[in-house]
């Protein structure tokens, strides 16, 4: 588990360094994810410990958002002033983007499977 954790942190570190050196406008951990994926593809196998550690971490993903979420206590006045715009924008925009992404993706899947049938 410690070894697997070290692998994850090392790839995050490499990701941060790559971002700093190259000026890619992407965040370090995301670059780290891409690099780890490529490394696994190159290696051709997934070590068991890495798999279990990653799955444990991901099964508690929601825990990791709590500290930032508690930050809401800093914005009492702002929220009191602008709560309507914030709430409606959040709710509607989130539902709308789920709907659009799902319908567009579904439509493209259907079209490409129809095409395959026609050929």
């Amino acid at each position: 588990m410690i070894g697997a954790m070290a692998v994850l942190l090392a790839f995050q570190l490499i990701g941060e360094v790559v971002v700093q050196l190259s000026g890619i406008p992407a965040p370090g951990p995301v670059v780290g994810m891409v690099l780890l994926f490529l490394a696994l593809q190159g290696y051709g196998a997934l070590p068991d410990t890495l798999r279990t550690t990653a799955e444990t971490l991901l099964s508690h993903l929601s825990l990791l958002f709590i500290p930032a979420g508690v930050g809401i206590i800093q914005y009492g006045t702002l929220l009191a002033e602008e709560w309507l715009a914030l709430t409606v924008a959040l709710l509607v925009s989130t539902l709308l983007s789920i709907t659009v992404a799902a319908l567009v993706m579904q439509a493209v899947i259907r079209r490409s499977s129809e095409k395959r049938r026609d050929e």
Partner: protein, 241 residues
């Protein structure tokens, strides 16, 4: 009584107290979620925040003191993001086959998230500060905070918006997608991930591992795309903080 006060004064400033309480709040949130029979409204993150926020206000604890303990949890967002490579690796065959639908879902979902959030807030008289803080709301926390900083939003407010977005998506997505008659777990997961990042992904993993993998993929891709799109949209709209 004095002794109790002394102990409180000592503990309240040490990272140990708030780290422990955050973990306990999460356990309580999870427990309530399970007791409710997995009802979406009993979202563990929302419940934990609803427990912690009043506690901090009542005990007069500044957020910086709280965060000095909770930062150890917050830090794990980095390696957890890297760990998304694993479900992606495991489901690569399926992902490759769906390359075109994934690109289409990503671009449409990402643009909808940025533009509709800013548009609706603008229509309802939101200040430009709010608009800029809302723009990256569908991206995972550390990335969204970076984007907000770059375009002139309030990064900590963005973090809160990101979490509320995630909770909304996690709560509403399963029934919304059922109502839209979407039955493909790959599509379900991807749509949740594009709109509701990690908190949505936590929910998607409960639907199936496949849904979780596609949701995780969407987090990474949308983090990249929104990093590129948000500054562009802001420039096109001539927004300044």
């Amino acid at each position: 009584m004095n002794k109790l006060t002394d102990i409180w004064v000592y503990l309240a400033t040490s990272p140990l107290l708030w780290l422990t309480i955050t973990l306990l709040a999460y356990r309580v949130g999870q427990g309530l979620f399970k007791k409710s029979g997995g009802r979406a409204l009993f979202n563990p993150v929302a419940l934990a925040i609803a427990l912690l926020a009043p506690l901090l206000l009542v005990t007069n604890t500044p957020y910086s003191t709280y965060f000095s303990g909770a930062q150890f949890i917050h830090f794990l967002l980095g390696p957890a993001t890297v760990a998304l490579a694993i479900p992606l690796y495991l489901h690569w065959a399926r992902v490759r086959k769906l390359f075109l639908p994934i690109v289409a879902g990503l671009v449409s979902g990402s643009l909808t998230a940025i533009l509709s959030a800013m548009g609706i807030a603008w229509l309802l008289g939101g200040s430009s500060r709010i608009l800029l803080s809302l723009a990256p709301k569908s991206v995972t926390t550390p990335v969204a905070m970076g984007i907000a900083e770059k375009i002139g939003g309030l990064a900590p407010l963005t973090a809160v918006m990101v979490i509320l977005t995630g909770v909304t998506g996690a709560v509403a997505a399963p029934s919304l997608l059922q109502w839209l008659r979407i039955r493909d777990d790959a599509v379900i997961g991807f749509a949740i991930g594009v709109a509701a990042h990690g908190i949505g992904t936590a929910r998607a993993f409960q639907i199936s591992i496949l849904a979780g993998a596609f949701s995780g993929l969407a987090i990474g891709l949308n983090a990249l795309l929104t990093t590129l799109l948000a500054p562009l949209v802001v420039r096109l709209l001539h927004l300044t903080p």
